[in-house]
Structures are given as structure tokens and as C-alpha cells.
Subunit: 146 residues, 2 copies
DNA sequence: TTGAAAGTTTAGCATAGGCTAAGTTATATG
DNA sequence: CATATAACTTAGCCTATGCTAAACTTTCAA
């Protein structure tokens, strides 16, 4: 057994990173949705299917289907043919996402990339940044006038 | 029409970022596979199904199925019950991924995060970093003794 | 107040990427 | 050299995430 476990930890350590990436991906979509719903509610008082679909660049039916999952996960509430609302849990997730997003985007700008690139890249990076890295980005911003 | 187009570009601009994230995700798995296959070939002369499965932390059958797609995409070649090889295209992708990965990981280390976190986070971030951001990371490394 | 436009939902399809269980081939050892 | 073990493949299942087309509600304006 001592022999067998000799090289399994290495594989386990390696695979851990990929497992986290896969886990991040499942959480990612939910995060994008609630963040967007929060934005819409703030901007115009309510979030509607069509607006989400337009902003995400997907079909309406896709949004409807995803919202069902979010409802099952108790992140949103919704009545048929009515606007969408966030649960307490949903708001928490949205705020968390916004915080991360803001730090990553500002960080990229401080690093010297263009506004446009910062906006686009931060969208993808946001969901793969650990607390530790986020803190390091925050420190960098503090040092560099963020 | 002037009125209508007034807010459509905004939605289009917004959705572009999400579309890129989705596109990145489809390319991501292929990138991880070819990079890992390249590593295995370098380390031990050949890449086998089982090793890939262990390192990725997925079942063997999952690897087999994915390799079929990679073969259809002409990134790898493979004979039944034999080792896996990369095509020219596959090597190109692997090298590109390794380059990106190395820069992102070194960058995170230079930013002050731990070895472990750099390893894990770079795995997720790698696929969402544009050329422009990668260049900015490179510059930062040059300034900070990378 | 009714009817058309706009928005929402349902139904049905496809692909990607997971899994387990069972079968097939290669290989290493007694 | 025969066979047990390890590696690979196939089959069949599931969920997530996309799509289009068609049906159903709501809303707004004539």
C-alpha cells in the first residue's frame, strides 16, 4: 500500500485543478445569470427573459430553461409570464460576482490592457479566480492607484 | 431605425463577451487534452488513455469519447488499443497552450500568490486570457524579474 | 373592447461531457 | 504458452446548454 500510494498523490494533486475548473464551469452560468438579473433590476426595476437573452446572446427558450434550474436551486423566484426576482441567496451570489468582477476588471486595466479587453477578459477570468488571487489583485490595485 | 439601433449595439457589445466565454469553453477541453498528451509524450515517450484519465480525474470511458472528437478535429491520431499521437495541428495547439499556461502561472507567482494557488488558478484562467492581456502579463514579468 | 405585436412558454431536437457496466484486446508472468 | 491482469472500447444512461418552431399570454393602441 505504501508503494501504491507513492504515485497516486501526484495524480490526485494534478487532477484537483481540473476538477476545480469543471466545478467552476457549472457554477459559472448561474453566476452570470444572477449577476445580470441583479443589473437589470437595478437599471430598470425588473428583469425580463428577453433582456437576459439579448445580453447573453442566446435564444429566449434557452433562458427559460436555465431559469428553471435557477429556480430549482432557489436562486430566483418567478411566476409564469411575470418578471424574475432574486432570492436572498441569489442576491448574495450576485453581489459576490459583482465584487469579483469589479476587482478583476480594474486589475486588468491597472495592468495596462484596454477598456474593451478588460471588459471581455474579466468576464471569462472572474469565475476561475481564487480568494487568494483576488486578494493579491486587490493589493496590486492598492499599490497602483486602483 | 435610428432610435431602434440606439440600444442594440450596447446589447451586442455586451453579448460578445459571453459569446467569447462560451467559445472559449468548447476550445478549453481540447486544449487541456492536447497539452496533457504532449506532456505525457515528453515525460514517458507515449500517451495512454489511463494516464490522461487519472490526471484529469475523469473515467476512462470519458477520455475515449473525447479522444474521438479530437481525432475528428484532426488534433490527434490513434489506432485501436494503441498509444495516442498528436498531429502537427495538435502540437501547435499544445505548444500554444503551454506557452500561455507558463506565462499565466509565472505571472500569478510574481503577483504574490502561493505555488499551489498559481498552479490551480492558472489552469482555469489560461483559456480566457486574450493576446493583449497575455502581453501585459509578460511585460509585468519583465519588470518584476520573471 | 378587440386584435395585433411583443413577450413567454412548451415541445422536440442536437451536442458536449460526465458516468457505470460489460465486453474485447494486449501483455506479462507462472 | 496459457491465462490472469491491465488497458482499452462499446453501449447505454444522465444532465447541461444550446437551437427552432409552434402555442399561449399580456399588453397596448385603434
Amino acid at each position: 500500500m505504501a508503494l501504491a500510494t507513492k504515485r497516486i498523490p501526484s495524480a490526485k494533486l494534478r487532477s484537483a485543478a481540473f476538477k476545480r475548473v469543471r466545478a467552476d464551469h457549472s457554477a459559472e452560468l448561474a453566476g452570470d445569470y444572477v449577476e445580470m438579473i441583479a443589473d437589470l433590476i437595478d437599471e430598470r426595476g425588473e428583469a425580463r427573459c428577453t433582456d437576459i437573452a439579448m445580453r447573453l446572446g442566446v435564444a429566449n427558450a434557452t433562458v427559460v430553461k436555465t431559469l428553471k434550474r435557477l429556480q430549482a436551486a432557489e436562486l430566483i423566484t418567478q411566476e409564469p409570464y411575470r418578471a424574475i426576482f432574486l432570492t436572498v441567496e441569489g442576491w448574495k451570489m450576485a453581489e459576490d460576482g459583482r465584487r469579483k468582477h469589479a476587482i478583476v476588471e480594474k486589475f486588468l486595466l491597472a495592468l495596462g490592457v484596454s477598456q474593451e479587453t478588460a471588459r471581455i477578459d474579466s468576464e471569462g477570468i472572474e469565475h476561475h479566480v481564487s480568494t487568494e488571487t483576488l486578494r493579491a489583485m486587490g493589493k496590486f490595485l492598492a499599490r497602483n492607484g486602483g
